[in-house]
């Protein structure tokens, strides 16, 4: 019998596990994919929003401002790439300037600090490549950027070190309620728990309806992005938004924590929440709108295009609450869900406690994490590291300077990867300009060696994403 089962391990589930792992509780996380952070968390704008977007008084507003305040310290402690680059909402006409004032007022009400509306001249001073037609901007210095999947991974890894159990490739198929407990089924496997948390992202309505009446609908919205080479990385110094419309926050142009440039997204509501494909129209839309903010973006230096899925709902706020006793929904976590995550995790713990879960702090829980990033070390540190373990002297990913030592470390991390992209999310291989063309086969080889799997079973990413069909010279050719 677990005290708590968390269904779904995106950034919200991970943050909740991280928070609960500080207490003397037995916690199980069930994730349907073969890695954590495989839904909205893996493909989004990677922004720590300041908190001027949500309507004052909403949960979103409260958790956003708090999550933004927590991010810098937390990322430092968890060794997650984070940069407090600030954001600018650009205004191109009078109507936009009115919107800036609305956002400013909202931000002030929500408790966002240091907000200011700046002139076009000042804007161009701090953001030299911005369009000449941008007339003013809302400047939010507290906003930042983060590596979203590493944020989730770091929190989950620390939770795992504190004893939280993670079961990947465990899709929840049903939940039944008994006296004082729930039985959560993943096919033929069953797990009992006193409390269940629904953090199932785009599937949160399905999970909700396993135990409660239908109360909301998830209305997933897909968006396309371009990731550009580091040669374009300084095209924007801040996250550049356009004024938000009914479809969302619009197309942004932003630096990334890795030094690339991120451009996107559009917003298309879609029926299949699990098909995360880009479209020609979507990419064209993004390109056109991004050039309005920064006309000099050189899309020839694109290294990747991808799409992300937002778990939007038919409600105006996050859906956080108990539809039945001891079953907590963390559902409809749309933007700014990434920013909110650590605050959402704490809020979830608070709600569980109010509903009878005893939270007794552990004496000395793990609260931080350190990672070796070879390329960021000084020469002396590099020398010392290689002397200790020569594998840190062998560079496997040449674009991002990731060594075999870092890949081996990733293979044996608290939530071990099962795919080449799982290594990518942990060690940063294949993130660069060749997108794994050179290092892919070698990463596969190391993954197989370290995890004891056959190359023929190795996956690129999710379940079924086999890379190799068999050996050559196996006969049977037609």
């Amino acid at each position: 019998m677990y005290d708590v089962i968390i269904v779904g391990c995106g950034v919200t589930g991970a943050a909740t596990a991280f928070t609960l792992s500080r207490y003397r509780l037995s916690v199980l996380v069930l994730e349907k994919e073969n890695d954590i952070a495989m839904g909205a968390t893996r493909a989004n704008s990677a922004i720590i929003h300041a908190g001027y977007d949500p309507e004052p008084g909403t949960l979103m507003a409260r958790l956003n401002v708090k999550g933004c305040e927590m991010a810098q310290e937390l990322c430092g402690r968890l060794d997650v790439p984070y940069k407090n680059c600030g954001s600018l909402v650009l205004a191109f006409d009078e109507k936009d300037i009115e919107t800036l004032h609305v956002l400013y007022e909202r931000g002030v009400k929500n408790g966002v600090k240091q907000l200011e509306i700046i002139s076009g001249a000042r804007l161009r001073e701090i953001e030299p490549n911005v369009s000449q037609s941008a007339a003013a901007a809302l400047y939010a210095p507290t906003s930042g950027i983060v590596n979203p999947w590493e944020y989730a991974l770091a929190m989950a890894e620390v939770a795992a070190l504190n004893g939280v159990r993670f079961l990947l490739s465990h899709p929840v198929t049903s939940i039944s309620k008994h006296d004082g407990c729930f039985t959560v089924s993943c096919g033929s496997e069953q797990f009992d728990a006193r409390y269940v948390i629904n953090a199932a992202g785009v599937d949160s309505a399905v999970v909700h309806e396993m135990v409660a009446e239908k109360a909301f609908a998830i209305t997933p919205s897909r968006g396309d992005y371009f990731l550009l080479d580091k040669s374009e990385g300084s095209r924007a110094m801040h996250t550049l938004f356009q004024c938000p419309g009914p479809a969302g926050k619009g197309v942004l142009v932003s630096p990334t924590v890795h030094g690339n440039l991120l451009v996107g997204p559009n917003a298309v509501s879609c029926s299949d929440a699990h098909r995360v494909n880009t479209t020609a129209d979507g990419l064209a839309f993004v390109k056109q709108h991004a050039l309005k903010s920064v006309p000099s973006v050189n899309f020839r230096d694109t290294i990747r295009s991808f799409a992300g899925m937002r778990a939007n709902s038919d409600q105006n706020d996050f859906i956080i609450g108990f539809p039945v006793p001891r079953f907590l929904d963390l559902a409809g976590i749309k933007s700014p869900g990434l920013t909110c995550a650590p605050a959402t995790g704490e809020y979830a713990a608070e709600l569980l406690e109010k509903n009878g879960l005893e939270l007794i702090p552990k004496e000395s829980p793990v609260t931080s994490r350190r990672k070796i990033r070879f390329k960021e070390l000084s020469i002396a540190e590099k020398q010392r590291l290689i002397a200790e373990d020569p594998l840190y002297g062998r560079v496997i990913c040449r674009c991002e300077t990731v060594t075999e030592g870092e890949i081996v470390e990733a293979c044996h991390s608290p939530i071990p990867p099962v795919s080449v992209d799982g290594i990518k999310r942990r060690a940063g291989t294949g993130m660069g300009r060749c997108q794994g063309g050179f290092c892919g086969p070698r990463v596969l080889e190391i993954l197989c060696r370290e995890r004891g799997i056959s190359p023929l079973d190795a996956l690129k990413d999710g379940e079924g994403s086999f890379i190799l069909f068999g050996e050559t010279k196996a006969g049977g050719r037609t």
């Binding site: 050559t472 010279k473 196996a474 006969g475 050719r477």
Partner: protein, 113 residues
């Protein structure tokens, strides 16, 4: 008249071959003329591929046919590669398959492994 691109060298001359007389035009060298004629009468290709190797840094060893092989036999020759496993060390020129499919042509190693 048959038209073809000469594959003898990277220049890729466009050849025209008179099937009746075997006369070749469009070539820039005698080798091109020979290629054009053989392509009509008895087209041949050099086969390149790999065979298994044990004990080397890599599990496959590159090989080629020591001379061009009749084009229709190329797929059959490729299948023959499945039947051989070399053991390191091998040197370029070593014979991996003698007289492959009775063609009189050997399959030889192209890398020291």
């Amino acid at each position: 008249m048959a038209e073809m691109v000469c594959i003898v060298c990277p220049r890729g001359c466009r050849l025209t071959v008179d099937e009746a007389s075997g006369a070749v035009t469009g070539n820039s060298c005698p080798r091109g003329e020979a290629y054009g004629r053989s392509e009509i009468l008895d087209p041949r290709r050099v086969y390149t591929g790999t065979v298994r190797i044990n004990g080397a840094a890599l599990p496959r060893c590159p090989v080629k046919s020591s001379a061009p092989i009749k084009k229709p036999l190329i797929m059959d020759v490729s299948r023959q590669m499945d039947k051989v496993t070399l053991s390191s060390p091998v040197k370029r020129g070593d014979v991996a398959i003698k007289n492959v499919l009775g063609t009189g042509v050997d399959i030889i190693v192209t890398r020291d492994m």
